[in-house]
């Protein structure tokens, strides 16, 4: 079942064309790993899906709604497409529990007790049950990112978008985040992940997309594409990230 469909989608910042007529269909259950050189448009592609960037050409359908639709549709799309940021972006004045309960309360309108129950379950799921009363500043980067994942999951999205979720983390903290993502994939969550973690791509990804200059130039199965790059620049790129 289709969940995301780029239809000849373009995005320009002024004269700079960052997405150039992208066609891409993502089905439920897929774990799409998005790679490409810096500036190739990976973040922009991801941010167009939940409307943080407005597309400037073509169309983009998420869960049967166009990102070009009214503001209400856009908010519906955002509730179905959770996003995890490189810099975590946790609300600094709220504890881990309050961060995770925030979505259910303010977006879904759940009563406080119910929202906190959901939040506790999710914090336990990401292995942070004992940290619920900590402020983000009292947590390590890896812990913050796991809270951020829980916060997104709390809204019960159909798709999760990850924009380099481990790039800001020290090597020893990356794994705890990747493990949570691995578990999500196992549970069947549809995911679009921008990352340089090629092991994760191979083990967890069901599809690998390579972007260059705002275009998708390689789209295939991660293992096959990584072991046998169909294009010189991908080969080059893979050598550099290893």
């Amino acid at each position: 079942m289709k969940i995301i469909e780029f239809k000849n989608t373009s995005k320009s910042f002024g004269p700079l064309k960052v997405l150039d007529g992208v066609d891409l269909t993502i089905n439920t259950g897929e774990v799409v790993v998005l790679i490409g050189p810096s500036g190739s448009g990976k973040s922009t592609l991801l941010r167009c899906i939940n409307g943080l960037e407005e597309i400037t050409g073509g169309d983009l359908i998420v869960d049967d709604l166009s990102v070009l639709g009214p503001a209400k549709d856009l908010r519906m799309i955002r509730q179905e497409a959770g996003m995890v940021f490189q810099q975590f972006n946790l609300f600094p004045q709220l504890t881990a529990l309050q961060n995770v309960a925030f979505g259910p309360r303010k977006v879904r309108g759940a009563p406080k007790a119910e929202a906190e129950e959901t939040a506790r379950e999710l914090l336990a799921k990401v292995g942070l049950a004992d940290k619920e009363n900590h402020l983000p500043s009292e947590l390590s980067g890896g812990q913050q990112q796991r809270v951020a994942i829980a916060r997104s999951l709390a809204i019960k999205p159909k798709v999760m978008l990850f924009d380099e979720p481990t790039s800001a983390l020290d090597p020893e903290l990356k794994q705890e985040v990747l493990n949570v993502m691995r578990q999500l994939a196992t549970e069947g969550m549809t995911m679009v992940v921008v990352t340089h973690e090629m092991n994760f791509a191979k083990q967890v990804g069901t599809r690998l997309i390579f972007m260059e200059h705002g275009k998708i130039t390689v789209d295939g199965h991660p293992r096959e594409v990584i072991d046998n790059p169909p294009n010189e620049r991908l080969k080059d790129f893979l050598q550099h990230v290893e």
């Binding site: 939940n50 943080l52 503001a71 908010r75 519906m76 799309i77 955002r78 509730q79 959770g82 996003m83 940021f85 810099q87 972006n89 946790l90 609300f91 600094p92 004045q93 925030f102 979505g103 303010k106 977006v107 500043s137 951020a148 916060r151 997104s152 809204i155």
Partner: protein, 218 residues
């Protein structure tokens, strides 16, 4: 020249009346100024071209003219232009509302824009409308950063009320002036007036320091 500090005791009731008037003008003016400043500041930070331009012009007009001219305009020119009568007290309050509002707008704008954009994006990405992101996330964070500059503005506005002597409002400075005119005890009376202002600004400073300490900057 001999000083006679007992005149202060004698005129204390008058001075207290003047102080009350000063406090009233300051409080009422700052409450209005906070509302106007919050609205204009949000217009500057998030408004489209037109709202932004309106707020910008308002702020520049106020910042580019002396407060004495502003209150003179409200008290003498506005009745002619718009055919509304304003009594001195209300003109004074309105002058503080308009004047402090412009400076507060810049404080509000600066604080809102200083909050990490990633937090706004995180809120929007959850499906919240922008105004809720502002109320629940950005606003409370920005508020903490506003306290020191707001405190500064409160003190400036408090002292600015003394300029309303020009339209004859019976605030503290005017009261001092009137007492002086009757007994020429300049040293005693102006010392007393200065000390009262110092007490008022001191109390304000203390309250602000206290609030600031209780709220952690995040």
């Amino acid at each position: 020249m001999e000083t006679d500090w007992s005149v202060i005791i004698k005129f204390l009731p008058d001075l207290i009346e003047g102080t009350k008037s000063t406090i009233y003008i300051t409080l009422a003016g700052l409450i209005g100024g906070l509302i106007v400043g919050a609205v204009a500041g949000v217009m500057r930070a998030y408004g489209g071209k037109i709202l932004n331009a309106i707020a910008f012009i308002y702020i520049e007009v106020v910042r580019g003219t002396p407060i004495v001219v502003q209150v003179m305009f409200l008290y003498f020119a506005l009745p002619i232009l718009a055919n509304i009568r304003v009594d001195p007290l209300n003109a004074a309050i309105l002058a503080i509302v308009i004047n402090a509002g412009a400076y507060i707008a810049e404080i509000v704008r600066g604080a809102l824009l200083s909050i990490n954009k990633g937090l706004t994006e995180a809120g929007l990405a959850m499906g919240l409308p922008h105004w809720k992101v502002l109320i629940y996330i950005v606003g409370p964070l920005a508020f903490r950063r506003m306290i020191p500059p707001l405190g500064n503005q409160f003190i400036v506005s408090l002292k600015d009320t003394s300029l309303f002597i020009v339209i004859g409002v019976g605030e503290l400075t005017r009261t001092g002036q009137e007492i002086m005119a009757s007994n020429f005890r300049a040293v005693e009376i102006w010392t007393a007036v200065a000390v009262i202002y110092l007490i008022l600004t001191g109390v304000l400073t203390f309250i602000l320091r206290f609030t600031e300490k209780r709220m952690r900057l995040l």
